[in-house]
């Protein structure tokens, strides 16, 4: 593309437009998901949830956001200033990168990345670093303990997650998300061939996004607020926005890899993709308001004694079948 005397590669323009769109998408989703989470929590406990601000409390998250923007940004005495402020930004920024290879529709994606799945898995790890930095730089025992938990949890659960995605990649023979979706048929999604991998991936996704029942890094009853104990105002909301964005990312990956992406029995398109993503998010919330938090040894036992061997087994069987059939 030519703008005056400069030549701009078309990919760059695509990325810029995509990042703008993603900012809108993430911001809007942050608002909607906060509202949805509180509504689901309310209805599960047979109360209305937010109700007073706007129709059915729809404007409640906006009011909350305004409150958070107005709050003082506070840094504890003796905290590491640079790392303390870097952590929330570092937590939030990779989200844009993770959404770039996501195939929202047959034509609706930022970039057709050949190693899309690898890109997502690689940069999802940055969040762990951000949480680690947040806990380390806060100079607070709760934060530090939360960070230590987050690191050991995320590192552990990344392995079965990778292995379960790898078995699908073996089957499809590609790491390109758009191709993975294209190779699935309107009804015969990958979940039919890889149900175990889907379950393992889903459990790992809940653990990776620090959601209940695996929300040990921010366990309120034990660690006040875990790694973000010392964060206030917008710094805290950056963490929260990042958390919700990662939920969207893992649900998008699950939809693209296991649930047939934009394919549906009729009118295939982006709405199928978004519908599946939101259905998965609702399941996330349903899980959160159903199960109590697991103990930390239980958490690691589930991973090392069950998910990891099962995902390895699944991978070997898949590899064998791919080779034989």
């Amino acid at each position: 593309m030519n703008i005056g005397p400069i030549t701009v590669p078309i990919e760059l323009v695509r990325i810029m437009v995509a990042i703008l769109a993603f900012s809108l998408f993430i911001g809007l989703n942050g608002v909607i998901l906060v509202w949805l989470e509180r509504k689901v929590a309310g209805h599960v406990q047979r109360r209305p949830g937010p109700y007073e601000v706007g129709p059915h409390g729809l404007l409640q998250p906006v009011a909350d956001a305004l409150k958070l923007i107005g709050k003082q940004l506070f840094i504890p005495k003796g905290a590491d200033k640079i790392l303390f402020w870097a952590a929330p930004i570092l937590s939030f920024l990779p989200v844009f990168l993770l959404l770039i290879p996501m195939p929202f529709g047959p034509k609706l994606f930022a970039l057709d990345v050949d190693l899309g799945l690898l890109l997502i898995l690689a940069f999802a790890g940055v969040n762990v670093l951000a949480i680690c930095l947040a806990g380390w730089s806060s100079r607070n025992k709760w934060s530090l303990l939360g960070a230590a938990r987050a690191v050991s949890q995320c590192v552990a659960y990344e392995i079965p997650m990778l292995l379960s995605l790898l078995s699908v990649a073996f089957m499809e023979g590609t790491l390109n998300l758009t191709q993975i979706v294209n190779q699935q048929e309107p009804w015969l999604w990958n979940i039919v061939y890889q149900p175990l991998a889907f379950i393992i991936f889903f459990v790992c996704a809940v653990a990776e996004t620090n959601r209940c029942p695996f929300d040990l890094p921010e366990a309120e009853s034990e660690l006040t607020a875990g790694f973000h104990t010392e964060y206030s105002g917008m710094a805290f909301s950056m963490f929260m926005l990042a958390e919700y964005s990662y939920i969207i990312v893992v649900c998008c990956v699950a939809t693209a890899v296991f649930l047939g992406g934009w394919h549906g029995p009729f009118y295939p398109g982006s709405w199928w993709f978004l519908g599946k993503v939101y259905a998965l998010i609702l399941v996330f919330m349903w899980l959160r308001w159903t199960y109590p938090r697991v103990r930390f040894d239980q958490l690691l036992n589930i991973n090392w004694k069950w998910l990891l061997p099962l995902s390895l087994l699944n991978l070997f069987v898949t590899a064998f079948l791919v080779k034989v059939l």
Binding site: V40, V44, R47, Y51, W286, Y291
Partner: protein, 182 residues
């Protein structure tokens, strides 16, 4: 074998996860049980133990059953009841004289009229709603009201004059000091 049975126990335990999801899923679609307060109010207030109030006597709705025995005031652990009888009417000099004469003759003298309740002040700010006064009252002159909606910016609004309240109730005015302002 022990390891395998342990594994089987773990796997069969997964069913409980489904049971949990079923319960919360059922509640999710059930109608809500909370009441949207300012727009709706609850209607089952009969069992509510609100601030205590006087019970009217059977034949006169303006007069309480109270016999001014002061047991309630004595029983109250927080001392929130102030009860006093009306000062007895002072007998005139002639009455005293007539009485003395009658006594001298050995006639039966009409005793003084039963005491009548003069003040019944109830400081709700001190009350812990323990109900000891209600249990203590020998004639059943105290009961819990069903005033659930109490709010005021003024502490004095919660110092009730229960006699005046009873009189208002007899006139059919819905009483309760904080509501009376509305």
């Amino acid at each position: 074998m022990n390891g395998i049975s342990q594994m089987w126990k773990n796997i069969s335990g997964l069913w409980s996860l489904i049971v949990g999801l079923k319960i919360t899923g059922k509640y999710f679609v059930c109608p809500q049980v909370t009441v949207h307060y300012p727009r709706k109010t609850v209607d089952n207030l009969s069992t509510f133990r609100g601030p205590v109030e006087l019970v009217a006597s059977d034949n006169d709705p303006t007069k309480p059953k109270c016999i001014v025995c002061l047991q309630c005031a004595g029983a109250c652990p927080s001392g929130c009841l102030t009860v006093a009888a009306k000062p007895a009417p002072k007998p005139t000099a002639e009455e005293i004289k007539a009485k003395k004469e009658a006594e001298a003759k050995g006639e039966k003298v009409k005793k003084a009229a039963p005491k009548e309740l003069g003040t019944f002040r109830y400081d709700f700010t001190l009350c812990s709603l323990c109900g000891t006064c209600v249990d203590t009252c020998p004639v059943g002159s105290l009961q819990f009201s069903s005033d659930a909606y109490l709010a005021s910016r003024n502490k004095e609004d919660f110092v009730y004059d229960l006699l005046a309240r009873l009189a208002d109730q007899a006139k059919g005015i819905k009483s309760g000091s904080s509501q009376s302002k509305e």
